[in-house]
């Protein structure tokens, strides 16, 4: 079981590192997608199927589409620029894996001190997500409506202005 979850965590972390390091943005986004998939498995494993599904459809699906859309709309680099930036990029990100490994090692060996004596207040819960979402977190739902309105108005306005400036 311990091994099982460790593999899932690796499936989550490795794509994340790749997403940061990959020089090609498109590949980064695909790595992000895989990271999202890893997260989905983790969530399923943690008894949160609904959140997992949501993460899969929105986090992996919608956001990747948004990113790919944005990347395709922005100007691709020319060949020389590509070459010039490659070295620079790897020089900057080469440290990341090492730093991650060091932090991971530090956390792993101090696991007992940090997480060993945690006490959680166990609460028995017998409501479903639906009941909680509608019965207790109504203000959050209102917030979601408001934020969607903000997003819609904002993006519409920004793009209309962005175009009309030409």
């Amino acid at each position: 079981m311990e091994l099982h979850i460790s593999i899932l965590v690796f499936l989550f972390i490795i794509p994340a590192i790749l997403a940061a390091i990959c020089r090609d943005l498109l590949r980064s986004v695909i790595a992000l997608l895989f990271c999202s998939l890893g997260l989905t498995f983790l969530l399923f494993n943690l008894n949160a199927p609904l959140a997992g599904v949501f993460e899969l459809s929105v986090g992996a699906g919608l956001i990747s589409v948004l990113f790919i859309n944005a990347i395709s709309l922005t100007r691709p680099l020319s060949a020389e620029e590509n070459l010039a930036r490659r070295k620079d990029h790897y020089r900057r990100f080469i440290g990341l894996p090492f730093i991650i490994i060091i932090i991971a090692a530090l956390l792993w060996f101090n696991q007992q001190q940090i997480f060993g004596n945690l006490i959680f207040k166990k609460t028995a819960e017998n409501a479903t997500i639906g009941q909680i979402l509608w019965g207790l977190r109504g203000l959050d739902l209102i917030g979601q409506i408001v934020i969607l309105l903000v997003g819609v108005y904002g993006i519409v306005v920004l793009f209309k202005r962005g175009r009309s400036n030409d």
């Binding site: 945690l118 006490i119 207040k121 203000l139 959050d140 408001v146 903000v150 904002g154 519409v156």
Partner: protein, 481 residues
């Protein structure tokens, strides 16, 4: 009743596209009407509650326990400030030269940001606080980049990415506290965090970090001058006047009062950060050459004051902090109104290119003098009283060094504000500005409103303290630690 604070602006924003179809100019009127409604309702609640019961705490549940809203003395003061600043912003924006197509959008976003702030102020739950904080922040990013010019986009992007880090840590802290206590509502958290283990400490540090970034304290401040400077004039009024203060200062106050309580280590830390911000903010402002940028650094310095007063943890300190919050909202938006008017009239904000405008723009000049004197803390204007209360509170709680630092920062504030006044309004009129005229009434009336509020608050400060700010005191009953 309280739901109106969220739903009325939300409805206003929702019908904005239809209003625009029917009546092109209606959008501005709609947002003016809605924000007037907010001001009036706040005033009515304050008046009503003072008359009927002595406590100002109002709680409301709708749909069973689905929606919980709570207003107490502190929230009421902030609600009043929100209504006031959004009102003047709405009036000011009526004259601002937006692209005609984007004016309804601006008003809709203004109403939505007000919705977000009102919800934020009345939230009883750390996660809801986050949701509304995000509403406010996203609307603010869009509004800053509203003119889609280079500066606006740049300021907006920096603000966004630093805020993103802050929200991440806010969520992380919330998750930690949630793990330990099993709930996210402020009252449950307050019971749960008493165990005081490492997770709680970490969660507290994360939440603190998030709010300090949102409030723009040194060294987390770097986004603030950029965002304030780059925003279009009406947005910078709103942003500097209320948005970042509600997003950072109020939330921090609420979390400390509602959940964590004051501890020695917390007070020492916040006092230190507050003092550093107050002094360095003032010094940094001293070297600025741009109207809005100087005001932005001044804002950092003033928030340092608010935090110093708050950090004392004494009733007097909290009163001072709340009052200074309100005053800051009023006089800082007043100064940004003036900055906007000067930019409107002359087309520049650089001190090198401005000078002697007082003779050409008498109303703007006069109101700016009032704003500056209030900021610097000159009696009998409102800023003086709140600063005085904060300094007294610092002295009484035994932080004598910090009290002296506060006085010192106040002197530096006076220096840079006089520099501002001197280089923009007084002295000889600069070449090329001879033809400058007073801006249109729609630009100076908001400034006149704010200036009279400042004067009135200064003169009637005992009544305000007695009726509006003192109820904050009742919060201290809730404090356990």
């Amino acid at each position: 009743m309280l739901l109106g604070f969220v739903f009325v602006p939300l409805l206003g924003a929702a019908i904005m596209p239809f209003v625009r179809k029917i009546w092109a100019k209606g959008s501005t009127y709609l947002s003016v009407v809605v924000s007037t409604f907010l001001v009036v309702t706040t005033g009515w609640i304050a008046y009503h509650n003072i008359l009927t019961q002595n406590s100002l705490t109002l709680e409301q549940w709708i749909f069973g326990q689905s929606i919980a809203l709570k207003v107490d003395g502190l929230s009421l003061v902030i609600l009043a400030a929100i209504g006031l600043v959004s009102l003047v912003t709405a009036i000011y924006s009526a004259g601002y030269s937006f692209h005609p197509d984007s004016r309804p959008g601006f008003n809709a976003l203004l109403l939505l940001i007000v919705t977000g702030m009102n919800g934020l102020v009345m939230a009883t739950d750390l996660f809801t606080l986050y949701v509304f904080l995000e509403i406010v922040s996203i609307a603010a990013y869009i509004l800053i980049s509203y003119q889609t010019d280079e500066y606006g986009l740049e300021g907006s992007f920096k603000y966004m990415m630093l805020s993103a880090v802050a929200t991440t840590f806010l969520l992380l802290g919330t998750a930690l506290l949630f793990a330990v206590t099993g709930s996210v509502s402020l009252t449950d958290l307050a019971i749960g965090v008493k165990s005081g283990n490492l997770m709680v400490q970490l969660g507290f540090a994360f939440v603190m970090f998030a709010f300090l970034v949102k409030a723009g304290m040194i060294p987390f401040h770097a986004w603030l001058p950029d965002a304030y400077t780059a925003a279009p004039a009406p947005v910078s009024i709103l942003l500097a006047g209320i948005v970042t203060k509600v997003g950072g200062v109020y939330t921090l106050m609420r979390v400390i009062l509602g959940v964590f309580g004051f501890s020695k280590s917390f007070s020492a830390m916040l006092l230190f950060i507050g003092a550093v911000s107050a002094v360095f903010g003032a010094f940094l402002a001293l070297g600025q050459k741009d109207f809005k940028r100087m005001l932005a650094f001044s804002s950092i310095s003033q928030i340092g004051y608010i935090f110093m007063g708050f950090a004392t943890g004494s009733p007097l300190g909290l009163i001072g902090a709340t009052f200074h919050f309100f005053n800051h909202a009023v006089f800082k938006s007043l100064l940004f109104l003036n900055a906007g008017a000067v930019e409107q009239a002359t087309g520049t904000r650089k001190f090198d290119e401005l000078g002697g405008l007082a003779s050409r723009m008498p109303i703007t000049g006069t109101t700016s003098v009032i704003g500056i004197l209030s900021t610097a803390g000159i009696p009998p204007l409102a800023g003086f009283w709140s600063k005085l209360i904060i300094i007294i509170a610092l002295w009484q709680t035994g932080y004598h060094l910090y009290a002296m630092i506060a006085v010192f920062a106040s002197v530096v504030s006076l220096a840079y504000l006089l520099t501002l006044q001197h280089s923009v309004f007084f002295g000889k009129i600069k070449e090329g500005l001879e033809g400058t005229q007073e801006v249109a009434p729609v630009f100076y009336w908001p400034a006149v409103i704010m200036a009279s509020v400042t004067i009135a608050c200064g003169i009637f400060f005992p009544i305000i303290i007695d009726k509006l700010i003192l109820p904050v005191n009742s919060l201290f009953g809730l404090l356990v630690k």
